[in-house]
Symmetry: C2
Subunit: 270 residues, 2 copies
């Protein structure tokens, strides 16, 4: 299997593309798909499960649960529901974004909340055959979206659990700036924690709010071949999802964005 | 000396305020000032030196040199000139922002450029009695402004040199998100590397381009008392500069921004 054959299309790259069309496009091209909970819920869990099964498409992950820095009953219940959704559609992995700093708390306290939430959820994930994948986000999201900011931190959070229960997401966009990133990837491999591998490029200037400025592969400064090499060296052979939050891409037809993204992926791994 | 007495006003907080007025306001209030090269050069090195001497104001740092990830002759010459400017106005410290990734290089290669530049500059800094202060910037600036992203990385870069030659900047805005930040501050103290201590608050949403979104102290999520406590614990007793890049502040009269910032500082350290 070449690197190009490991491409998986994360639905968020063409956020407004109908889920059925996206799944069918992936089926035609023989590539995997990363699904999102909102379109899944809109179509219904059963209907989505049937869609991917009939299409014969590999669901490489379900995005996204988490948001449990304040691990309330509601937050935990929603994450349990997400685990069930992942199991229903055959996703091996549920991606978790921790959430930001709750009102009146410090970032250190918010991080304690993440530990508590993982303790609550890990046994249920194992029961359902799902690996929870902690995603460190870029530190520019630390206050309002994700207090987990480095691969090292994500690995420390995963450490108390089995690798089947809790892993990490290696997403180039969020970790490329980290002077410890190569060590972090090697450690993630050694500890068998790579549950998801994602590509997006880093481009500037960042747009206001900074959420939707991810670059098409090759447009920015990230050395994807190096990431591929370092992750390959750990023995990880799983899919590589491309997930781009980008206003300009979102404004265009999904099929076009899909084809362009697949071609860009093939170029950067060639 | 109380924490409130350690306030120093970084001129960039009121970027468009005349340098003479800023210095004279600091003199009247008995506080220090962090100067910037552009207004210094506009007034002239001699005239600025005379201004601060006559006013009896402590210059706590000169901002900003660096931008030497591609350490060309021109870049090194400009940094030597900045060292001379710092010496002329009696600033103990020259703040260095490393610069981004040069065209066609990787971030790792850019970091090698920083090492080379420091080797070139450190002896001249010692000769002139100036400490070079490596400032890690927030990772959202890693590609276009500063490849040095953590306190740990800045300390590693400083390690080959004496603490008199090369130190680091501890700026809350840039490092607050780091899960290793308390360890980093303790290490900076142990290694005697704290050359500048700066406050700015983290607020969201970030503006487009992300440069000018720093928050007034108390408006964001940073626990300044904790930073004060951790830095105090290292034995550092130097000034605390407040440096806010903020479009809304820059649009207002300098004297008003100065008074408001001093009051905000007194509140967050009280």
């Amino acid at each position: 299997m070449t690197a190009a054959d490991r491409f998986s299309f994360n639905h968020a790259t063409a956020k407004f593309w109908d889920q059925r069309e996206a799944v069918e496009a992936c089926a035609r091209e023989g590539v995997g798909i990363g699904l999102w909970r909102e379109p899944l819920q809109e179509m219904g869990v059963e209907a989505t499960a049937k869609l991917v099964k009939d299409a014969g498409v590999e669901v490489t992950s379900l995005c996204r649960a988490g948001f449990f820095t304040n691990p309330t009953k509601e937050a935990i219940a929603d994450n349990r529901k997400a685990i069930e959704e992942a199991a229903a559609v055959g996703a091996p992995t549920l991606v978790l974004v921790s959430g930001g700093i709750p009102e009146g708390k410090t970032i250190d306290q918010a991080r304690e909340g993440v530990k508590e939430a993982l303790e609550e959820l890990a046994p249920y994930a194992v029961e359902q055959g799902i690996t929870l994948a902690i995603e460190p986000l870029h530190p520019m999201f630390a206050s309002d979206r994700c207090v987990v900011t480095t691969l090292g931190e994500a690995l420390d959070l995963a450490a108390p659990f089995s690798p089947e229960a809790v892993g990490v997401v290696v997403d180039t966009y969020h970790i490329w700036w980290d002077p410890e990133v190569w060590k972090g990837i090697a450690r993630a491999g050694r500890e068998n924690r790579i549950a998801s591998f994602q590509f997006a490029d880093w481009i500037t200037p960042l747009p206001a709010g900074v959420l939707t400025g991810r670059g098409q592969l090759g447009d920015g400064c990230i050395d994807f071949k190096r990431y591929l090499k370092e992750v390959d060296a750990t023995g990880f052979t799983g899919p590589i999802e491309v997930e781009l939050f980008n206003d300009a891409l979102w404004a265009r037809p999904g099929a076009e964005v899909f084809a362009e993204t697949k071609a860009a992926f093939e170029r950067v791994v060639a």
